[in-house]
Amino acid sequence: MVENRPLGNLLSHVVLIFGVALVVFPIYVAIIASPHPPGTFLRGVMPLLPGPNALENYRTAWTEGRSRAGTPPISLMLTNSLIMALAITIGKLAISIISAFAIVYFRFPFRIFFFWIIFLTLMLPVEVRIVPTFQVVADLGMLNSYAGLSIPLIASATATFLVRQFFMTVPEELMEAARVDGAGPMKFFRDILLPLSITNIAALFVIMFIYGWNQYLWPLLITTDPEYYTIVMGIQRMVTGGDSEPLWHLVMATVVMAALPPVLVILFMQRLFVKGLTETEK
């Protein structure tokens, strides 16, 4: 600091407390609303203090969901979300790491061509080519399956690009030293490159897990069987699925539980996550 002015600092704190309040407010509201009895939301303004029905509401949500509207219990949706998020994350990382390895550490015919094929996927988010992609998955018989939920989202130009960026920063001499030491490509990959990439892979893991967990449109389209509903899309079904006003207390309990896993991941791995985002995504 060049200088420290008490007044300026006070102003900064005021602005930041306002900012934090703005950021926290929606989740606060959700936490407050979730333990209220259903009657609370029929009249007047929503409460700003928690209600008494925490245990009951969460148990209902966890075990029954909103069965009248056709949504399965949260426990099932959470499991589905976890399976989908992990499958997407691990799949993305695995195929991105090996393809980045091929692109950086080998020279072969059509290398640039393959790079661009992979790269094109970055330019085509699922939302913009949604109808034909759905048709392909339907033709392959992958609707209502974990494979259908995850495999089409596994190809990742972003992850490949980020891993490639990292590999480019690994000193040339390490690979040369390994070669002089008698290591072939896969041995070098396993003994040297992967152990060196652990931090970066972990950071990517956080980012990709959140991406996978928060998928919305894709599961919405390809799951018609509630057995395969994920929690993020399930919330939408709870909000719009009934014929009456949403059952806010159950919706909010679901919101809390849907947001909790990725938020926890970020809070516990904040340093790694911030590093992964800012250092690789350049």
Partner: protein, 350 residues
Amino acid sequence: MAAIVMDNLHKVYAGGVRAVSDIMLDIADGEFVVLVGPSGCGKSTLLRMVAGLETITEGRLTIGDRVVNALEPAERDIAMVFQNYALYPHMSVFNNLAYGLRNRGVLKPEIERRVREAAAMLEIGAFLDRKPRQLSGGQRQRVAMGRALVREPAVFLFDEPLSNLDAKLRVQMRVEIKQLQRRLGTTSLYVTHDQLEAMTMADRLVVLNGGRIEQVGTPMDVYSRPATTFVAGFIGSPAMNMLPASLLRANGNADALSGLPGNADLVGLRPEDIGLDAVAPGGVRLQARLDLLEPAGAETHLHVRLIDGKTRMTVRLSHVPGLTEGADLVLHAPAAALHPFEAESGHRLL
């Protein structure tokens, strides 16, 4: 133990850039040869061609009794010390040393024995469990040496191994590497851009410029009889003074130059061969003005300008007899100290 024979080696990169041309060089078994030259002269490329890290575009490379052009680095029986050491950051010092042996299927007790032995030789035995980042620069350098040593290869390759050390450590390691090499008697090829390092360490020097060999010889040979103006300027510090022969003749030195070949239009003079002895007989005599005195401890460098007001020279003296800047001097050099060159070709003439 192996000799290296480079038979007309060439390296042309995919883009058409010629990095190395016409390299003919025989390195005897057990010899310590230093490749020296300015950056971009091809010395590292040549070393990496020997290592097998760069493909050889043309020519034949023999190590021992095998032509190795098509062999992988690991199959060439070489070990290499890299400029930035290239230690595996996630492995302990022990594992760094052992990695190459394990890849070759050397048995555990033998690995243990060789690593301990190398570590003792380099005095890094106390650090075997540490990671490279916990070591100082000098210790890392020793680990890099150790990794080459444990392999007991036929040839050591060094790629500017001391350039990341501070000046004091560099001098110390220079001596140690040289002694180690003498003791083991392993053929060594050593790349550096530091001409002092090259002079002090080499059995034989190879001076490279623009991808070609300028001169090969023992350090004293190269120093006292530089084959080209490039070598004359590159080896020796301060650099050799280069004067047009016409300038010397015009200043009354025609007699001293009469012994030189007629086409010698450029004359070199080492700074230490020049004195202030105004009464010495024969030789070359020049009038000059002292621009700057540079005391360097044991010796002093005099930066002077000849009476034409343009030509600058450097003189190296061990005793400076009470000179002040701006003083007029008479410089003298014996005729035997003159190095005659032909300016156009850059070749030495005598």
